[in-house]
Amino acid sequence: MKGQILVPKSLTNEAIAERLTSTALKNIKKGIIKKKPLIYLELNGCSGNIISLLNGQNPDFEYTLNSMVDLCYCNSLMAAEGDRAIEKLIKAMNEEFILAVEGAVALKNNGLYNIIGSWQGKPLTGLHAAKMLGERASHILAVGACATHGGVSAAKPNPSQSVGLQQVLPDKNMIKLPGCPVHPDWFLGTLAHLLLYGEPETDNLNRPLMFYSTIIHDRCPRRPFFDRGIFAEKLGDQTCLFKLGCRGPVTRVDCPTRQWNGHVNWPIGDNTPCIGCAQFGFPDAMAPFISYDTTRVVKNE
């Protein structure tokens, strides 16, 4: 970072992406880094993360796929289907690969609540696939709330007995990217770092520090309102949303400075509280998402 904080290098997202892209391409050309196979597994969840990733910029998803990795398996994006798709998955498993997993692992009835295909005439459960692939992967990325800690899939009453990926692979190192969904930059940036410089530095919960180091509250543009005790009473008020139940003070991620949908805006910028989707324990531990009865005073109650 030294010497790069200010001029002459531009620090816009586009400029950083261009430097990342050109470094990666240069290193691939020189043979310093090689394109690596990537298996993207979708387990018990809503596929929201893959949708979010398609909105990626800097690096964008197409660039990442074409220049940095060989996507061997991804049931949302691959052309093959049925047995052919599973064949590709099994074949890819025999070489070195990076595993990215979104969605939780459903444990109930030995994993039968989440079937991702059929292999050798039997249903292939998410539980089986997660264990089998997780044991062989060179690096594991747990993508989104469900994969990192169970998330929405594991919310009460959790009928499928869903758990995070680490629970079925207790001895494996994995990089965790909580968020519902994950921001494309968090995933693609971590992947780019992995390929260019190895595993990024992480905190004690295995989250990359480059994205998850700061509490939202500490970078919130409405922080001065909090410090002066000026609180919003309803959605749409342009002051601190603390009294409505904002979870920014307990959530560690870079939304205030990164922003969403092409770095355009984020919940608090649009006058709705943070619901703590990137915090472990979401959604149960972050409920209720909105409260009005803290500020509304009822007389003669």
Partner: protein, 175 residues
């Protein structure tokens, strides 16, 4: 109108300070100091944002400015002090005149943060005020609601760390 002039002076002061900081940043290479300067830049920017938003709101509502709402002063810092304070005020001192009040568990339950009431929680017999504690937005904290005794929860989640409790104002004792 005098207040508007004061706010303008505050903004001008912050802008001058930020220009100075940017200049310092471009010449300094000490990472630890740079971090502090960046933090101060961020804080200055947030305060400028706050002041301009406030001015616009005032203009819209054509109110007279209440000096009390602007009571938090913009601190003046000296770089030679080594540490740059943030604009966050220090937590209130736990010693206050009313902190000897006693609560039964039933009385405590009324202080649940609803309807504008304060939010209190008890840990190990002491009742704390979490109304404006940042981890207790809308008087809830990781699924817990205010107005209860959370001695066990505190012990299991926070490992009994007294340093966390030391920053929270005390309002009384649970009997």
């Amino acid at each position: 109108m005098q207040n508007i002039e004061m706010i303008r002076m505050q903004i001008n002061y912050l802008v001058t300070q930020s220009r100075y900081d940017i200049n310092t940043l471009s010449t300094m290479s000490d990472t630890s100091v740079n971090q502090q300067i960046l933090q101060r830049l961020w804080d200055a920017l947030s305060t400028i944002h706050f002041l301009t938003e406030w001015l616009v709101n005032q203009e819209k509502a054509s109110y007279h400015i209440l000096p009390s709402q602007l009571s938090a002063p913009v601190p003046s810092w000296n770089l030679n002090q080594g540490q740059i304070p943030s604009i966050t005020p220090l937590p209130n001192t736990p010693i206050s005149q009313s902190n000897q009040r006693t609560f039964t568990i039933g009385e405590l339950a009324k202080f649940n943060g609803k309807n504008g009431r304060p939010a209190y929680v008890a840990v190990n017999g002491i009742v704390y005020d979490v109304t404006t504690n940042r981890a207790w937005a809308a008087a809830t904290h990781f699924g817990l609601i205010a107005g209860k005794d959370y001695s066990q929860e505190f012990a299991s989640c926070h490992d009994g760390k007294q340093s966390i409790l030391a920053t929270i104002p005390i309002v009384g004792r649970l009997v």
